[in-house]
Symmetry: C2
Subunit: 206 residues, 2 copies
């Protein structure tokens, strides 16, 4: 045998793979899906179209990773906000504020991740990355019910509705052609909406 993947090569391969994902994310964040075709991504990553296919077997699989990468940080930050203790309503408020504030800061990418029309094939991947948010809310709601802070309810339903409410209310302001809105007002309004949707504090059991 005359060739073996040496450590250096393996490292470079990993680095190239990484560069592809980064390039895709960059293009999506800058130009949306229109500017993020395979040849453009390959070029941005500094390699040929054909070579890209040594790293990802299809565009769908590449974008699975792109979404994971793009979403993971946001999800982590939200999860952290949720984990910081306090009562259910406080935690929910924190998460909503963090989520909305960050989305409004990285608008173009947030728009692509949440709402920009995209190929059906890829849409399926994107949809998957809503679930972690929903699960964060489910956790908060269940804790709140257990602690008697919020009335008994279907946590899955409430959590899904909150996710939908956040996304839909943000789509307008996130859209590339949106005129700028008062962000703090929007964030506070959204947090209030979500907290109120949980319903009033239930009467204390004796």
């Amino acid at each position: 045998m005359a060739y073996r993947r040496t450590e250096t090569v393996v490292a470079r391969l990993a680095e190239t793979r990484e560069r592809i994902v980064t390039a895709a994310l960059k293009l999506v964040a800058r130009e949306g899906y229109g500017g993020a075709g395979i040849p453009a991504i390959a070029a941005e990553a500094g390699l040929s179209t054909g070579a890209l296919y040594r790293y990802f077997p299809s565009k769908a699989e590449l974008f699975d990773e792109v979404f994971r990468r793009g979403s993971q940080r946001e999800i982590d930050v939200c999860a952290e906000a949720a984990a910081q203790g306090g009562r259910a309503r406080q935690r929910l408020t924190r998460v909503v504020e963090v989520f909305a504030r960050r989305a409004l800061k990285g608008r173009r990418l947030a728009y692509a991740l949440l709402a920009e029309p995209v190929d059906p094939l890829i849409e399926a991947e994107r949809l998957r990355y809503r679930l972690p948010y929903r699960d964060i809310f489910i956790g908060i709601i269940e804790d709140g019910m257990r602690a008697g802070e919020i009335a008994a309810q279907d946590a899955l339903l409430t959590a899904s509705a909150i996710v939908g409410a956040l996304n839909e209310a943000l789509i307008g302001p996130l859209a590339p052609q949106a005129k700028k809105t008062d962000q703090e007002k929007l964030i506070n309004g959204l947090a209030l909406f979500c907290v109120q949707a949980l319903g009033p504090m239930p009467p204390r059991k004796l």
Copy 2:
């Protein structure tokens, strides 16, 4: 001149046009967008692919009408539910119940109209038909604020969030592969969510 569009012909043309829209709606409702390509729609309407293009200059324009047709009835029913008087919270509850109940009854079509991944080109058309719902909610909220029934708030924000909450909470149950859920519980849960999100009754002004 040897040919003139006679009334009969005009009527038949209108009828054919109508048949195209109906065929498209039928295919979408039965098989989703995968089964609703131009040739399939033409065949279902009983004419050739080429002929269809005498009635609609492009697929996007055809689907604009398809969505209008598919949504208009629902929008009308919701608008009617909103118009039936009562206080803001009652009206909101009625609209949410009507909307959700009807969506759950015509599941496949509702799924296609609300959530099924679709070509970006067509997605843009579909998005447009969310606005009427939002506007219905805006009307209710503004009436409620004027009447002092609900606290001052950004009606656009609240209405958007409600639309998003309804859609997202329904997507799961509407998806073709969903296991069946307790519909009445879902409907009531959604209505409660939305009403509570409006916030508590404001203190009466003296």
